[in-house]
Amino acid sequence: MTATPDLSTPPEIGGIGHSVLRREDDRLIEGQGDFLDDVVLPGMLHMAIHRSPVAHARIRGIDSSAASAVDGVVAVVTGELMAAHNLAWMPTLSGDTQAVLATDKVRYQGQEVAAVIATDPYVAADAAALIEVDYEMLPAVTGPQQSLSADAPVIRDEKEGQTDNLVYTWESGDAEATDAAFESAARVVSLDTFYPRSHPAPLETCGIVADVNSVTGQATVYLTSQAPHAHRTLFALVAGLPEQNIRIISPDIGGGFGNKVPIYPGYVVATAASLLLGTPVKWIESRSDNLISTGFGRDYHMRGELALDGDGRILALRADVLSDQGAFYSDAQPTQFRAGLFHVVTGSYDFPAAHVTCRGAFTNKAPGGVAYRCSFRITEASYLIERLVQTAAYEIGMDPADFRLLNFIREDQFPYTTPTGFVYDSGDYHTALRKAMDEVGYAELRAEQAAARAEGRLLGIGIAHFTEAVGAGPSRTYDIAGLKMFDSAELRVHPTGKAILKLGVKTQGQGHETTFAQIVASELGIPVTDIKVVHGDTDNTPYGLGTYASRSTPTAGGATSMVSRKLADKGRKIAAHLLEAAEADIDLAAGTFSVRGTPERSVTIQEVAFAAYTNMPEGLEHGFEGVSYYDPPNLTFPYGSYIVVVEVDAETGVWKVDRMVALDDCGVRINPMIVEGQIHGGLTEGFAKSSMQWITFDEDGNCIGSNFMDYLVPTAWETPRFELLETCVPSPHHPIGAKGVGESATVGSPAAYVNAVIDALAHLGVRNIDMPVLPDRVWDALESAS
């Protein structure tokens, strides 16, 4: 690695640190975006899916004659037809198999049973409703406890050797050392809590336009994909198509949040239909399709135990998880880790020992435990530990802030190896929490709280101090379905000094077209407005694993820096030639190559680019371009201190947020405005989950929450005002010192909101209310406490 260059730039260049307005916004705001539903191809047909109305039943027969008879219907596809092409089942990202169209049984409400291909989406929907399926009803299993009981029906009876509903068991840490610590503990504190099933609910649902050319065999697949290259490879492996003939184009995406990482049955059916019919086929989920059948998040039943010494120092952590996986195990997560990165559950604390155990269970619910705006189950882990430390503080009569300050990992302990094997790169937790406490006026609030209690008013102050593990790779540790997690950038500077940057990652609203151009602007001094960022088209971008898990800046951001530095090195050679100086004497700063000691002897990056095509020194290849594949040496570990103040209406249980102070440390911020936008979004999602959002099922497995009347997404009206703060401890191993931030606030904030409500009731002995913290649950807690 070359030495870190001076990355500061003036505003007209707009590099790292400038709040450059998002370059993609003009086209999106003016309706000139290019989303999947904007793709219209000649002769294109439309697909609708007939879904199971029941959660668990054997299929006796399917009658599609009425659907086939509808004017405009071209084909009806059933599992039988897919099976004839060996496509009735497909592999999941976690090594399980998932039904594409059901052949034997339906295993959750909303499962894909048949598909109608028609000339018009209305006709397709009408015909899909006419498909008759003869079901033999089976008992539905709607929770993991029920699922793992001895008398539960076996949901995955088609799997050889599967005699129960257990998906996996997994553990991390040192059981023996942990047991020993618990035995010697002065005090043990525990918390049982449930993180309910939620849904990423992107505003644009998932969809595909599959266009398989019957002559050339070329498959052009427009896909709402967060990971187009990975999807190309998986399409090749699943469908048996030669990979050079598959081109995935992921156009503008209206939000992903993890929902657009998996491959869904509808994609496979539409592609197969296009292959068989020789015409393009479009399929886009309805809102209900999206909410009932695609990748959910969480559904984690957790127990945490802390061992403490007599002074309140933590000695060990035990965490046990029961995960509701739904009918198929299709979590999107690294292969080695059956429960994602949940073992980051030791959080921000200096734990001498920890032991984590996890079990997954099949249920008659939709599959797809995706990392909903979270780096693989880190949200659940962060929630458990932050709820648990607050519980411990109450139990030993210590202020929750003091308890954290006593037990934090200290600044001088970084890099810090956790008992479950993470190596935290950098941080200063004490400074972060103290700064947030100063901003919110913590001591004064505690006095106010005491005064309010005396008047019968309920005020609560909740803290969450999270540490995230984001940005996978390194590839030696992290892969998805065998595909190693590095990422890439390809940079071409044209003769006039304008550049194209091509990425293996794919924005879904994160602002890549702006922020990645800013990295190049800082590295090479090319103005951000002169750099076009291209992504999402596998024929025209280098290979990469895609955008999720806050990995784009840690991986592709690193690649962008590294490729820029390759060009800077070549630029120095060209500049040395142009300036008739020694290469070793050439400095580059803000787009100017100058001779050390005589700065008036200089050439601009634009002049160097022109020379690369017109006046190259002998012995150098023409052109000014390069590609880098960046494999990070470690994850990055962003963190933050969030403090929420609530008031609870003691008569009704309704609670309102008075203050939300959020301090984030994500290392170097490329575009502070975009970072703040990410944090605002995450704090809003955390508020949603803590206050109103969940997917529930009745005892028959019917999904309650299949539309936006029942599945709640907060508006600006409910959302609290956010007060943002920052500290900056750069990542020591990342080329520009940045850490991922896209998910921090979603991960960190739910515990802060819930802790605040619990804090309002803590003096009454209340220790837990599960999310969403609905007013009736608060009222129940108040009633049972008094």
Partner: protein, 287 residues
């Protein structure tokens, strides 16, 4: 979300609309703001054969105060009520709580009234204020007391071929006040619990008339008649309001669901009735 196919007629007059309804038979529906109907079509919960669009009918959007009544026409939008100075009491209090701004801009009061969704807000307000629904059909126009209009869950007392053309809310001559207390999970959500209250005061300060009606806590919007009876003729006060609130809670029949437990909802009825009566009294006493 693709609705099943249907025919559409755009009526230019009430007479045209009534004729179209009669011709369309049982499966014909009026399309006013469409804020309940269109989602039901998209979810395929409803499959009408014919929609009769009344939005082009001139003069149907009236909103005026005449003869001691607030008259609200069939195409007057919720947003019109919010923006107008004419409504007072529970009507003015409820209007900004109807769903969200998008729905208020398009949805109509009369459409909501006719829909008879027990989670709809307006029928509680009309029950509390003693309003009248004006229906027009093949036989002409007739007035229906709101208590007789609301029959059951999504069921009104319109005869075949009739449509709601107006709602009349009485405007008391003396001191009066009203409120609508609504607990919702978020903007745009149906009420978890809604309570409309209405009080009129005699010259001596005692309660001369009282109205209380509740949303989302019974199979229909429910008038709390026992609670109203407790109030009439009495001097307002904390104990009286607490007793009325208790009676309202007793008259509610909430069900446990994802919004919360029945027991808690009944408690919210109690709290919101009391708070609503306090707000109504403050308004009446302020004149």
């Amino acid at each position: 979300m693709y609705p099943p196919s249907f025919d559409l007629t755009v009526a230019r007059s009430v007479a045209e609309a009534v004729d179209a309804l009669a011709e369309g038979g049982e499966d014909a529906r009026i399309l006013a703001g469409g804020q309940s109907l269109i989602p039901m079509l998209k979810l395929r919960f409803a499959a009408p054969s014919l929609l009769v669009d009344i939005n082009e009918i001139a003069g149907l959007d009236l909103l005026e105060r005449t003869n001691g009544h607030l008259r609200i026409g069939a195409t007057a939008r919720h947003a019109d009520i919010v923006a107008s100075d004419l409504p007072g009491g529970a009507v003015a209090s409820a209007a900004p709580w109807i769903s969200d701004p998008l729905v208020r801009n398009r949805g109509t009061v009369c459409g909501s009234v006719a829909h008879c969704d027990p989670e709809g807000d307006w029928n509680s307000v009309l029950l509390a204020t003693g309003a009248t629904v004006v229906a027009t059909g093949p036989g002409g126009e007739r007035s229906i007391d709101i208590g007789d209009f609301v029959v059951d869950f999504f069921t009104n007392s319109l005869a075949p071929g009739e449509m709601v053309t107006e709602v009349h809310v009485p405007v008391p001559a003396g001191a009066s006040g009203g409120a609508y207390m609504k607990l919702e999970r978020k903007v745009g959500d149906y009420a978890t619990v809604g309570v409309a209250t209405h009080l009129e005061l005699g010259g001596d300060g005692t309660i001369s008339a009282a109205g209380i009606a509740m949303t989302s806590v019974a199979p229909v919007n429910r008038k709390a008649s026992d609670a109203e009876a407790l109030l009439v003729g009495e001097a307002p006060g904390d104990e009286l309001f607490a007793a009325a609130a208790e009676a309202a809670a007793a008259a509610s029949e909430p069900r446990s669901d994802v919004r919360g437990s029945a027991e808690w909802k009944r408690n919210v009825v109690r709290v919101y009735t009391r708070r609503g009566l306090e707000a109504a009294l403050a308004q009446a006493q302020a004149g």
